[in-house]
């Protein structure tokens, strides 16, 4: 799935993945997609929690080689 915007948060620790994602989302319009890859274990729960609270939807989520991938759609 090709996303409109990508955030590479690998190596960043809590709370930076959520902060980076929120900053990227600010410049996006409703319906656009954001792909995120992170290595922080907290991101696994933090990113879906943040997205749900902010009204964005999680389109995809999978782990690969200890990297957590997400695709969010801006609400």
């Amino acid at each position: 799935m090709e996303a409109d915007v990508t955030v590479d948060a690998r190596g960043l620790q809590c709370p930076m993945p959520v902060i980076k994602v929120s900053q990227a989302m600010k410049n996006m319009t409703s319906g656009q997609t954001l792909a995120i890859v992170a290595t922080d274990r907290g991101a696994l729960s933090d990113i879906p929690a943040w997205a749900g609270d902010m009204g964005h939807s999680v389109k995809e989520q999978f782990d690969q080689n200890n990297e957590y991938h997400f695709v969010l759609e801006k609400g």
Binding site: M16, V18, I19, S22, M25, K26, D53, G55
Partner: protein
Amino acid sequence: MTTLEQSTEASPEAADETPTAEKMVLIAASGDLDKAWPVMILATTGAAYGMDVTIFFTFWGLGILKRQDAGITGEDWRQRMMSAFTGGSTDGLKLSKINFGGLGAKFMQDLADEKNVASVQELLELAQEMGVKLWPCGMTMDLMGLQESDLIDGLDTPAGAGAAISLMKEASISLFI
């Protein structure tokens, strides 16, 4: 950490910053590194949630806001003595346990650097960029003999308990850390 008040008046709109944003108030009363860190982590994360975040710095928490070059502050010898023993700025924060004259705090900071954890200073700058309001407590500034020129730039006007209570009454998250 103590939860002072918690109510859920969630407005789950996909808005980043609206005039009706939910409020978060953090009372930063400690100059310990291991307390200042969660204050700044929660503040920046609250801002990422689109919340209107205010941190009220009081007592030793004011040390977080001291300029790195403020030196020993105060007029009275007791104020100067307190300042000399507590240090200041994000560089002068101590661990609440195993500080060992600053060595423990240095180890913690070195570990954080190795593991790419954002420092208190980085998070403080990020919080300012994200619009987190930083309120120094006017009474404690007076008690400790701190001038506005001893503190970093970009702070809000010194405030008191009344302003903090007014804000906390409306806030969905209020924490004393």
